[in-house]
Symmetry: C2
Subunit: 328 residues, 2 copies
């Protein structure tokens, strides 16, 4: 028994080391941090896949979790131990690919505080898949005879949200709406099963709206009305088409038109981002999830100007690890 308890104590002590060596978050103010600012699904050499952190009262809320989110949190000075919840906008893998590592590394550092994953219908099945992915690793544990690992799902909760749902926790209220990233016929089976969400976070009198991936959407403009901060996706459809045409000089015009229509339905151009911010009368606009990848300062200047033609307010095209205060 003594031998066993020594092992147990050693693991507890190691766990406390993990806490002390993880660095401290800046807990002095509420803020939004763009952890990953390029659109997926192609990994980018400069900026990471879609991910954000919202810090409220010193707690960390991850909003979308693309590949490498755990590492990006560390670069932002944030510990996995401080993550209270993860909000997933939709179940494309450029927005979820980093979630298995978050849950796995949490487990591996003995972090068993409550964590809730919020997302659209299908999020429960998706997270159950992560628990299956983790099963053998948790059962084998650290290879210490007699040590029994806790189940992968320990204190991990999932809440699926539909159009118009609002939930409240200690730090804020959040409302989800269905946006237009998918174009299923209304009331079809797919329309009921596969939903892309935009979120509004009401944080201590300030509101932050995160579009996720979306096309133009009246519901989204209504959600964002008078928001203090709008964090929007953006896709340069024209530039994307140009790249495709150059790479495929024999592409029939009809195909180009079809592709343009398809992309336009599911994403928003710089003009549309600016118009949305104006129509919603938001106080501050942050653009993220950019496509194609922005690599040079002039790319950022170009698109900032393109958005600003349609929105007079404060606009920033975000880079990875940029921080934006949340507050009136």
């Amino acid at each position: 028994m003594l031998k066993r308890s020594v092992k147990t104590m050693a693991l507890v002590v190691l766990s406390s080391l993990f806490i002390s060596s993880q660095g401290c978050a800046n807990e002095s103010k509420d803020e939004w941090i763009t952890l990953g600012t390029m659109a997926g699904p192609i990994p980018n050499a400069v900026n990471s896949q879609p991910a954000n952190a919202m810090i409220v009262n010193g707690n960390t809320y991850v909003v979308d979790a693309g590949d490498g989110t755990a590492g990006q949190l560390a670069k932002a000075g944030l510990s996995l131990k401080g993550v209270k919840a993860v909000f997933i906008s939709h179940l494309h893998f450029d927005h979820t690919g980093g979630l298995p590592a978050i849950l796995g590394l949490r487990w591996q550092t003995n972090t068993f505080s409550d964590l809730t994953v919020y997302g659209p219908p299908g999020t429960k099945a998706t997270v159950e898949g992560i628990f299956q992915f983790m099963r053998i690793g948790t059962e084998g544990g650290y290879g210490v005879p007699g040590q029994v690992g806790k189940p992968a799902n320990t204190n991990v909760h999932v809440v699926e949200l539909g159009d118009g749902d609002t939930v409240t926790n200690d730090d804020f209220s959040v409302t989800a709406i269905r946006n237009t990233h998918y174009s299923w016929p209304e009331n079809s089976e797919e329309w009921k099963k596969y939903i892309a969400l935009s979120y509004k976070f009401d944080v201590d009198g300030a509101s932050v709206v995160y579009t996720g991936d979306t096309g133009e959407s009246k519901a989204l403009i209504a959600l964002a009305k008078n928001a203090d901060l709008l964090v929007s996706e953006m896709m340069d459809i024209d530039h994307t088409i140009d790249l495709v045409v150059k790479a495929n000089p024999n592409m029939p015009e009809q195909v180009a038109l079809g592709m343009r229509k398809h992309l336009s339905n599911h994403h928003v151009t710089p003009q549309q981002v600016g118009e949305m911010a104006t129509q919603a009368n938001v106080k501050k606009l942050v653009v993220t999830h950019m496509s194609p990848a922005l690599l040079k300062p002039e790319h950022y200047e170009k698109y900032t100007s393109a958005v600003a033609e349609h929105y007079d307010g404060d606009v920033t095209l975000a880079k990875d690890l940029d921080r934006f205060p949340i507050g009136k």
Copy 2:
């Protein structure tokens, strides 16, 4: 039908854009690239979780896949489309956390070339979990009515390897052995189920040995005998103990001794790394998977010296994205 075929063509064209915009790997020579050089499970702000890429004949083989591996591949100029196989040393999440994103982003960029995941027993169940994680995302696809997404497991294969197994592909032969990262009693149920592997890759007349996580191991020294390149983990047990003692000044001496024994069994110190390289008579030693995190140049110098006290050959403490030629 015309409408449908236009959509299909548009997706094919987009897929070709993905290819053309992903940049080109350096395909002129075989090499080992350390994509992530710090030990897990705590994410590090400077260097990534354990991951490597081995380039042979222009093909990419990922060796361990911690969080952010897809992004690290992009930083190394490598496309996900070029990944032919992933080798997992053991099923701790700091070595597997980036695999779901690799498989998910592959799918999302219409990459359906063959990919094989090699790993210890339990790898099949682990990858099946990833397919479950991907199920809803693949079924919903891009939200285009009439478009049916391919299953998550399309052309993804899993091969489980045990102690002494050798497999051969077009580019190399690989041999796996059981190392000492786990300390199950021999022939126990756990010993049969949970195995940590080291790998030897025989590449066009040169041999590369990757320790994975391990304690001292005679089998590993035998595997590495006369290797051209040994890529080894390393843990500074003394420094780790010091940190723990400082953080827990009242820790009983017996607990410290128990912890030291536990860590020593499952990892190798700088001295042990050097001794292993000498005993195996390897031509070149690359040290990665360092613990605690190395953040300053003097940390690298200190541990390089510590290893070099016990090994006269060429030694490098790797940083993320370092490249090492493979060849006689």
